[in-house]
Amino acid sequence: MKSPLRSRYDVVIVGGGPAGLAAALGARQAGVEHILIVDREIEAGGILNQCIHSGFGLHYFKEELTGPEYAERFIRNVQSDQVEILTDSYVLDISPALQLEIISGGYGHLQLQAQSVVLAMGCRERTRGSIRTPGFRPAGVMTAGLAQKMVNMHGVLPGRRIAILGSGDIGLIMARRLSLEGCDVTGVYELQPHCSGLTRNQVQCLDDFGIPLHLSATVAFIHGRDRVERLTIAPVNHELIPDLSRSWDVACDTLLLSIGLIPENELSTRLRLRMDPATGGPQVTSNLETSLPGVFACGNVLHVHDLVDFVSEESLRAGRFAGEVAIGMRRPSDNISLQAGENIASCVPQSLSPDREQIIYLRVKRPLKNCVLTIGDRYEKSFRMLVPAEMIRLTLAPELLDRYFGEMLKIDVRLREAT
């Protein structure tokens, strides 16, 4: 028999993946009493549950774990912290007064009042439609994450002869996974002139298995009425336009897409939170609070991370700040705004306050060798190599920030001039 839910919570967390779980621990650290995680799936853990490969936790736990192991550690901590987890449940709506409308497999229709809310809904994969790949619409075209769920959760294969469009990390992981399952992975085709996934995945998942990575190439046509039969692959020019005169065909029965991730901000947009088009997530203060007071965001719903370890770090903080707000504690508002400058694709958070050490996450627009990152006119850091696939994490000391009261702080990355 399930214990009846409360009608009021200090902190309600939407999403029970790595972000939501860490946020719950953070809220508990802040000293709040009633914390609830709402998750759509039958069990918490989010997408980690289908990531059975290892490589998680190197930063956070200083050891190498599989996805389910990483999730398990957090779930255990959350449970021993007496956080309630409501699974098989879906948040339909959040009102600006932080009333949540939930439907639940176990409890039916619910309405709860929260003091503060943490958004931790994660992200979804981009699909064929978003890149408008021409051709037929057969079975066998799917996102890499769906293929991962098929193999790892349901014990079936997406096909036998696999091509992968896009070199995102899930695509690279699936190239290896399906090779191990005995599938023939014909190649990975990447529109950009550089790999979109982590270097370690490129090495361990493609190079080690002899799977070719074709850069500056895309799928120009999908053939096959009922099931994929073959693909026309075309190289692209510097404007990313396919050159059909140099195209070639590849026989395969499956096309996996690993062409990017999009934060899942349906609830955020319905709440009319101020969004950042560069990240696809809400704009947040250094407390990870969105434009609606009392609503916080963390993890991939805020910006797509490269490593789950950073999701956990960020979400612990978001949960703590949400907890503080729930019990009426106040921190100074931000008084410095951050702006992505040259070669910077995105920056989170979008503003800072000099009252404490701050962490910011950045991504660059293109690979850069031997470059210098500057923040305003007083901070400078050299990098041998920066790539879009890997986030840049910087900690900024209060002494530095204190000099920028009320200013707009611009972040640039420039190539080091030849001396």
Partner: protein
């Protein structure tokens, strides 16, 4: 309520309809009023899976086609029938009206002509709007538009939902449905047609040929091919909900000789769709989309709405219009007695479909078919129930009655497990069948999250392994079994 694969065939019917598109389904429901042995046979695994599925979903306002044509006469008659159909068959329907835009001075005359044509046909409410009025009503359209003709009678539906509703109603009134049943040959012996299919032979006194893009080939099987069908392909692009509501009416440019032009369509479920193209193709299965098609559509749309970007596309698809040489519907008796063509149903075919069904019924009566009304005929069907459209109170009540309403399967479109189960009970056999009935997989993630849950429900309900669940029928299996022999391949 089933595809009929397990039925014993060899039975004889009074009327057999070939083709389960919107026309065949509308015919089936109309004829199910009468005391007839009636069957509909469909080549695809479910009804509505051909041209109807890929239609723009517009119930045209009634003034577009000339009253000198059959399609022109049936257009306005059909338009007026859809509100009742939507109510009885419980599919989405919104009478949102349309605006036909004059972008160039030479278009202005056409607006006047069309207004006159509509008024002569009895289409109410036609009004020419000034640029000021257009700006006020549709502020996201470009300011360069000279004038627009407003027609409040235009509406939007999902054509596949209409097909499912029509056939379910026909079946509940006694019509029989056989899917996955392509016609291989038709022989005539006296007054009896024998229709050969992989499921057996159907005997019938009357055959209605509603075979869409294949109608001339079916007619040729009995030597009744006094017409030719060619295919005109149309590509459509469905856009993200980010743009929902920026245009509230159907937006038409002034048409060309072959099409109504590229439209902005606020679909009945909200998202905006743009298209279609109009391209003559030879291959009757060419449902491919193209770079050129996308480029054409977005270039056209930018002439009247700059807010729409091709980057907002969430999915694209193509469909084939069945066009007869006469450029009009081909409806009537053929040279072979008892064999009737209901062919060449191009735009405004969807709009006209209910009127086509009545027209054909009257034609059959005139040809001597005895039509005795059944003592009991039920116009409505019970479902489907859409959680996303329920009020809070209705949701609470639904969950109390069936806890499966409390389990969301498709997060993008808020589709519950109860709706998926209902769809399968009412005929869905494939992923597409579920998708087109309940919208699971139609949203932003395009099935990334819900595909496996829907497949598991199909597998459980139909008693099939996951590896036999298809996207849209045999050959489109979604996954395959793992290989027992694990290996790293051939050691490349």
């Amino acid at each position: 309520m089933n595809s009929g694969a397990e039925k014993i065939v060899g039975m004889s019917y009074d009327v057999v309809i070939i083709g389960g598109g919107i026309v065949g389904c509308a015919l089936a429901r109309e004829l199910s009023r009468y005391d007839l042995r009636l069957a509909l046979i469909e080549k695809e695994v479910e009804v509505g899976f051909g041209t109807s599925k890929t239609n723009s979903g517009i119930i045209h306002s009634g003034h577009h086609a000339s009253p000198d044509t059959l399609k022109g006469r049936l257009e306005w008659a059909g338009n007026q029938r859809w509100s009742d159909l939507a109510r009885d068959l419980k599919f989405g329907f919104k009478r949102i009206g349309e605006l036909l835009l004059a972008l160039q001075p030479e278009d202005l005359h056409y607006l006047q002509l069309l207004k006159k044509q509509g008024e002569d046909k009895g289409v109410p409410g036609l009004e020419i709007w000034s640029p000021q009025r257009i700006q006020k009503e549709e502020p996201n359209l470009n300011r360069t538009i000279l004038q627009a003709l407003h027609a409040p009678t235009a509406a939007v539906i999902n054509p596949y939902e209409a097909c499912f509703g029509l056939i379910e109603c026909a079946q509940q009134n006694g019509a029989e449905l056989f899917c996955g049943c392509p016609v291989l040959a038709i022989n005539q012996t006296g007054a009896d047609f024998s229709i050969q299919t992989p499921q057996g032979v159907f005997h019938s006194r009357i055959v209605l040929n509603a075979a869409g893009v294949f109608a001339d080939r079916v007619a040729a099987m009995v030597g009744a091919a006094d017409f030719k069908i060619h295919c005109r392909k149309g590509e459509e692009y469905l856009l993200d909900r980010r743009l929902q509501g920026i245009v509230t009416r159907l937006i038409f440019p002034v048409p060309t000789a072959t099409s109504k032009g590229v439209l902005i369509i606020p679909t009945v479920d909200g998202p905006i769709m743009v298209g279609p193209t109009a391209e003559e193709v030879n291959n009757r299965e060419d449902l491919s989309t193209s770079f050129a098609g996308a480029a054409k559509i977005f270039a056209a749309v930018h002439q009247y709405c700059k807010a729409i970007s091709e980057r907002d596309t969430i999915t694209e698809f193509a469909g084939l219009r069945a066009v007869a040489e006469t450029n009009d519907f081909v409806i009537g008796p053929s040279p072979v007695k008892g064999f009737f063509n209901v062919a060449g149903i191009q735009s405004p075919g969807l709009t006209a479909a209910p009127a086509i069904a009545t027209y054909v019924t009257e034609m059959l009566r005139c040809e001597g078919l005895k039509l005795a009304e059944k003592p009991v005929w039920k116009a409505e069907i019970d479902g489907p129930f859409r959680f996303a459209r329920m009020t809070q109170q209705q949701r609470q009540a639904a969950i109390l009655q069936d806890p499966a309403f409390g389990r969301i399967v498709c997060r993008c479109e808020a589709v519950t497990e109860a709706e998926v189960r209902y769809a399968i009970r009412h005929g869905a056999r494939t992923l597409d069948g579920v998708k087109f009935r309940v919208r699971a997989g139609m949203g932003r993630c395009q099935g990334g999250f819900c595909t496996m849950r829907v497949m598991a429900l199909l597998s459980e309900t139909l008693g099939l392994p996951l590896t036999e669940i298809t996207k849209r029928g045999h050959g489109s299996e979604v996954c395959c079994p793992r290989q027992d022999n694990l290996s790293v391949g051939d050691g490349r």
